[in-house]
Symmetry: C2
Subunit: 360 residues, 2 copies
Amino acid sequence: MPSKFAPLKNDTFLRALLRQPTEYTPVWLMRQAGRYLPEYKATRARAGSFLGLAKNPDYATEVTLQPIDRYALDASILFSDILTVPDAMGLGLYFTDGEGPKFAHPLRDEKSVMALEVPDMERLQYVFDAVTQIRQALNGRVPLIGFAGSPWTLACYMVEGAGSSDFRMVKAMLYDRPDLMHHILKTNAAATAAYLNAQIDAGAQAVMLFDSWGGALADGAYQTFSLYYMQEVIRQLKREKDGVRIPSIVFTKGGGLWLDQIADSGADALGLDWTVNLASARAQLADSVALQGNLDPAVLFAKPEQIRAEVQKSLASFGQHSKASGHVFNLGHGISQFTAPESVTVLVDAVHEYSRAFHV
Amino acid sequence: MPSKFAPLKNDTFLRALLRQPTEYTPVWLMRQAGRYLPEYKATRARAGSFLGLAKNPDYATEVTLQPIDRYALDASILFSDILTVPDAMGLGLYFTDGEGPKFAHPLRDEKSVMALEVPDMERLQYVFDAVTQIRQALNGRVPLIGFAGSPWTLACYMVEGAGSSDFRMVKAMLYDRPDLMHHILKTNAAATAAYLNAQIDAGAQAVMLFDSWGGALADGAYQTFSLYYMQEVIRQLKREKDGVRIPSIVFTKGGGLWLDQIADSGADALGLDWTVNLASARAQLADSVALQGNLDPAVLFAKPEQIRAEVQKSLASFGQHSKASGHVFNLGHGISQFTAPESVTVLVDAVHEYSRAFHV
């Protein structure tokens, strides 16, 4: 069945994820629609709050397109939040200014954990509506990425009830009551797979799993409590839509020591943070997956010459492309709200300009 | 010249650092003198403040000995703070309740950076007095570890003026004004070497460099801005005192991807955090250095059986000792203030009991 959407004019990003030849290295930035952009701040002010913005498909479409209008980016990503899923499970997501997300009903005892269920996807219809509307608004300019949090990363917020620096409560549950932790993770994995598949049905052309807190786990615990459940999600993902492959990306921040195991997860591409040496990672994985990353977002605080030099160093570290290699340029984490918008122009243009020499 | 201190009754820790045979795996815990102990809280209340405690050799001696009196630990560590050095440089260290350390005069411009100098070690005499007094009070029970922050980790606090989650200001300086950053790091390295050597003269029997924030750096930046300056410190360290070797330990939290390079730093032992697989690290480094670590402090929130099982797993991961291997059991980070004191008894006793089978 042919797609109801306009044909794609720039599929460089999708080809790179599938390790097909490209003319240059495609680039997008995590959190590219965000507070460093004055136009984002204006929309956010009209929406009244972060959730007012994220839950309204018109606003979500508007801010998703803003960086695409401003920069020569090769991919767009749905404007949303990973915590929409536990919110739909009834945990009561809310945001306090300057303190980040919180849950009104965190999972702190056996009763609340055992009551957890995969939510009806209708409660997340506003996300799928946004995906379809963004895809229509993009009109084929670049592909649209859908995303979700990893089961473990969601569990961190669900048990702690907020962000944490030491993950004391969620790790206490992991070591003291692994049975409860597995129940949460199993539920999260089923919900996440359903959520991403619904995004694919709504128009997402690639999907990404954000395992923001996998790197907080001990070796051994990471494999059991994060990676295993991400594999469960990937296993259940739709592989194609309207006859077109839907690539998947897995990103464990701080997961550089486990790249070989993450590469076996079934994902098409691995996100890398800036602690990883691109040349070493590529050699270790022998081009069996595409790599996405990994510039330190702090590089964008430097002068244009320095930004260009760091882009060049990064591209040279990945090295000359072969028939089966794939690299998507990105930061190693979300862009800082303190970034000057013009520094992103320098970065994106440098990636496009310098990378052609590595794709001949 | 013979030492003026009592002979050491338990040198297991020092032998393990030097990869000499031991009968069991020695154990100590980072931040073992601290808020999880009711006796520490009582002393701290009498001292009135953290700095009132750390700057008074009597109080520092009292709290350093508390965990040694309570547990069968194989090493003690000076009670102090890594920020004593920038405090002596004139940055004005102070503590606010619940927010951690702050500097009244952070390094934010070229003028303040270029005015930075290695402080007169007399300003840190209270630290050296504490070292001597603790060593006397220990009376040879276990060795005393001296310590300092790494040049980069000190720079993080000196530029940010406080702890940070994104190190925005210090990294902006690193990428935008590397000349200023190198001036800070060079000064810090010279100060740190003098500081550790004075601790050795005062009675420290091993020294440890805490690179708490090296893992926040990008690959490449880590080698240039953290590891290089730690090597400078180690190069200048006194190798022995009164004819006895003074082993050195380097710990970069989040440095698991760079172990081979850290092992070349000249340190006798590497501290490891819990993301590192002990078996892999040992195989990679081929017993060229001793390893210290690396249990997740959150394991101490579990039941005794579970703590014992995790200790056993960790010891088995390091594996059977050879003639040239060395392992010091520790956590992968400081012990949490929320730990039950009796859980530490379980851990220490399990290390001693289970490790003998690996040392035959």
